[in-house]
């Protein structure tokens, strides 16, 4: 297990400039970046699960610092509302953030099962949820959450356990129906082949009757168990005087089935049990694929829960002074006084009390620079308190918060979005209506000409028109494309995403976290007369070496570990002071670093100054660094003919800089979520089909409103919930290839549909004339379907450019 000593063994964070900590794994000392990672690595080793490090394909997540935050869940009243009673214990559904590869599933499942008191545990990778059942007497929810957190993941208890139950029942029901249809189809097909061979080469009458009866026995449960949803759907549609795709499907199924039963019992005509079961099977497959895609996109309500912390610290006044108690966020009330420690997410909307605080609002506004909020100013839930403890008087909780309004905006945008699936459904419905009309016409004509041949001819039309190839045409292509994209690190979350992706003409990128990787880097240094850039960077790196603050990490990456600082002192919200090579230095805000003026006009919040006893040495200019692949991806997209632009909530200067770096000409800055949505709609009105790529909570409504939306793998849960596609690998590099696959898929779908329609149209008149014997119809139908499937598999072939 060769790990370059430059990065953390557990989370792969660069180690440059950190005090290196070692963890013992498999009898070796391996370097890790922080005590949290050491604890996680050693815990995994202790549990005998160190194989995780050999099998994983993506780095782990760094564990959160405070371990006692789960204590509030030990409260039985809290646990009662979040869990439910099972026959042998208590169960909870836990949403897990930080699942990066399949080895994570394995690790969590095994670790939970080794926790004493846990009876059952399973992790569903597709939905990112774990179902845990435990013995109430031996452990509690708090300990289970702490166990998951100790491994480096972030657990969130899902309150809507009932929804999860419903989804599981639906999944299992579909799976059973699919299994029965598949097994039944294989059986009936073998009998059908014998019967067709018998028709061609002569067959004993007893055997023929026997095979027919057996076919009927197998086809009956397939139709009435596996096909029940279609029959039910058709009945409901007719009862509501509507016409859905289920109606012609159900009529064709019932007609073919009852005619076959009649022929079987009277030993006359021909049977079509094979067509019935095959049709039911393919329709079941289609339904299953659709359901799986639907379940994969996690619920928005869950996403909202993930944005806010699980617990909060409430300040209670007692006779002998104030005391801090940890409570679950759901139990906070308006008027409560909360304590938000440095580095914690604000759990509710409120007003700052007492002193000021520096707040990172980037998840809400996209603005990367922290904002200073004075006492009495409003602070929104979901924002991050950067560096000093904050006292917050709660003004709004839960559904009344700003962030909940954002979720509402998203829900509305999604509802207003054009749905392609419906259009495709309508087309197939029209086709089937035409088929039914044609069949009825044929029946009437034959009844008039020769009543004895009316029924076989009508059925032949229905079988020849059986849109098996047509229904396979898109289905197999979409399934193959989904698999091909998954292999390239793109998760398709909605059934119609591929179709939409193929239509894209313009791509709008968010800035922070999408074109940039969210990391801050030092881009410049304006020295005073006494300053020297290289030396200043080294001093800054030494002073900031031990800090976890994102800005501090920027200095550490920039300056390396040349100098070492002693006697380091932190001033919350101000800066850091320390001794390097015998000289006392300060780094931080203007007011903190002695002496002012002299240096440039960097934006107020971004200016980080370095100074010593005699005055300022210079000012650092900070900016977000673009992703390594951003420029190449943009160039590739433009070469392929896509329009590219940036929509950002950040300042014009920051956006312009990044646009130049990435080679993008059009960009918008200082845009709110509503502005971005407006821009996307305006583009839509101009006839452009827009793909939106984003990662933040502020992007979620835009993602919901765009023609097709793509979220980054490390982006916020809300963004992912509203996205059609998720770039799992958290890299833009997969995007051009995804677009190519989608376009190829679209072309192949078109070929398939042309072929299927051509075949059906050609076969129908012949069948209507009564010239097609059943075996020929079946051979034709099967080979047509096989042709379509083989053609569809071409989607997965590695791309050869465009």
């Amino acid at each position: 297990m060769a790990v370059a000593a430059t990065e953390c063994f557990h989370c792969s964070e660069p180690l440059a400039g950190r005090t290196v900590v070692h963890a013992r794994v498999r009898g070796e000392d391996v370097p890790v970046c922080c005590p949290g990672c050491r604890a996680a690595a050693e815990l995994i080793e202790q549990l005998g699960l160190a194989d995780y490090y050999r099998f994983r394909t993506a780095p782990g997540t760094r564990p959160a610092e405070s371990a006692d935050q789960w204590a509030a869940y030990a409260d039985p009243r809290v646990a009662e509302s979040l869990t439910r009673r099972e026959t042998d214990g208590r169960a909870a559904v836990v949403l897990i953030d930080g699942l990066t590869c399949a080895a994570c599933n394995w690790l969590i499942t095994r670790a939970l099962l080794q926790t004493s008191g846990v009876l059952r545990a399973s992790v569903n990778a597709a939905t990112g949820r774990a179902l845990v059942v435990w013995d109430d007497a031996r452990t509690d929810l708090a300990r289970i959450l702490a166990a998951i957190a100790a491994l480096g993941y972030r657990p969130h208890v899902v309150t809507g356990g009932g929804v999860e139950d419903l989804a599981r029942r639906e999944r299992r029901g579909h799976l059973k129906r699919l299994g029965v249809a598949g097994l039944g189809m294989m059986q009936v097909m073998t009998f059908a082949v014998s019967l067709y061979a018998g028709d061609a080469g002569g067959m004993d009458h007893t055997i023929r009757a026997f095979l027919r009866i057996v076919s009927m026995l197998v086809a009956t449960p397939v139709l009435f168990y596996s096909g029940w949803p279609f029959l039910q759907g058709a009945y409901r549609a007719l009862a509501a005087r509507g016409l859905t795709m289920d109606v012609p499907v159900a009529i064709a199924l019932l007609l073919a089935y009852s005619a076959s039963v009649w022929d079987t019992l009277h030993q006359s005509g021909a049977v079509y049990f094979d067509s019935v079961v095959m049709f039911v099977f393919f329709l079941s497959v289609a339904r299953y694929v659709e359901m799986a895609a639907r379940h994969r996109s996690t619920g928005i309500s869950d996403a909202l829960g993930r944005l806010l912390p699980a617990t909060a610290h409430r300040l209670r006044a007692y006779a002998d002074g104030e005391r801090v108690e940890d409570v679950a966020v759901a139990r906070i009330e308006v008027g409560d006084l909360l304590l938000v420690r440095a580095g914690e997410i604000v759990p509710a909307d409120g007003k700052a009390q007492g002193g000021s605080a520096r707040i990172d609002e980037s998840m809400l506004t996209g603005e990367s620079a922290p904002i200073t909020r004075e006492a009495g100013e409003a602070i929104a839930a979901g924002t991050l308190n950067l560096d000093s403890p904050l006292r917050l008087r709660v003004e709004a909780v839960g559904a009344d918060t700003t962030i909940a309004a954002m979720v509402a905006l998203l829900t509305r945008a999604q509802a207003e979005r054009p749905r392609f699936m419906r259009a495709a459904d309508a087309l197939a419905g029209r086709f089937l209506s035409a088929v039914l009309g044609g069949a009825a016409l044929v029946a009437v004509l034959w009844l008039y000409l020769d009543p004895a041949r009316a029924f076989p001819a009508t059925l032949a039309v229905l079988v020849a028109a059986c849109p098996c190839a047509l229904s396979l045409a898109t289905l197999v292509v979409v399934a193959t494309a989904n698999t091909a994209l998954a292999r390239r690190g793109v998760l398709v979350a909605r059934a119609d995403a591929i179709e939409a992706l193929a239509k894209v003409s313009r791509i709008v990128f968010d800035k922070t976290g999408t074109l940039t990787d969210g990391r801050i880097e030092v881009v410049g240094f304006s020295p005073t007369s006494r300053g020297d850039e290289r030396r200043a960077m080294q001093i800054a790196a030494a002073l900031e070496a031990a800090s976890e603050h994102p800005i501090a990490r920027a200095f550490v990456r920039g300056g390396g570990a040349v100098a070492v600082a002693a006697d380091v002192r932190y001033a919350a919200g101000q800066g850091v002071e320390g001794t390097v090579d015998g000289e006392r230095y300060r780094i931080g805000h203007r007011a903190f670093v002695r002496g002012t003026a002299e240096v440039g006009e960097a934006p107020r919040d971004q200016a980080i100054l370095l100074g010593d006893r005699h005055g300022v040495l210079g000012a650092f200019e900070l900016a977000e660094s673009p992703r390594a692949e951003s420029r190449a991806v943009v160039a590739e997209l433009r070469a392929a003919g896509y329009g590219v632009e940036i929509a950002s909530g950040d300042s014009a200067a920051a956006v312009r800089r990044l646009a130049e770096q990435c080679g993008i000409e059009r960009y918008g800055s200082r845009q709110t979520a509503a502005d971005k949505l407006e821009r996307v709609r305006a583009l839509g009105a101009q006839g452009e089909f827009v793909a939106m790529v984003g990662d933040g909570i502020n992007d979620a409504p835009v993602l919901g409103g765009a023609g097709v939306s793509i979220a980054m793998g490390r982006g916020s849960a809300l963004a992912q919930a509203s996205a059609d596609l998720i770039l799992v690998g958290d890299s833009l590099a997969a995007l051009p290839e995804a677009l190519r696959v989608a376009r190829r898929a679209q072309a192949i779908v078109r070929q398939n549909i042309v072929w299927a329609v051509f075949y059906n149209l050609a076969a129908m008149p012949v069948a209507a004339m009564g010239w097609v014997p059943p075996w020929l119809a079946a051979v034709g139908m099967s080979s047509s379907s096989i042709l379509v499937v083989l053609n569809s598999l071409r989607v997965a072939r590695p791309g050869r450019g465009h």
Partner: protein, 61 residues
């Protein structure tokens, strides 16, 4: 050809059994997580350790 009058009913019984087994597998949650179990076979067998208890400690001596 008479033999198929015997063989086919037997195959039907087997199909019934296969359906029952499949239902049982679905019902007992075997299709819920298709990933984690696959990793189990790659892991080296080690006796399970209680999560709450510290490990057996160093084995180097």
């Amino acid at each position: 050809m008479g033999i198929i009058l015997v063989l086919i009913p037997i195959s039907l019984v087997l199909i019934g059994f296969a359906c029952w087994a499949f239902f049982w597998a679905v019902g007992s949650g075997q299709f819920e997580d298709l990933d984690a179990q696959a990793w189990d076979i790659l892991a080296e067998d080690e006796p399970a350790v209680d999560f709450e208890r510290p490990t057996r400690g160093g084995r180097r001596c």
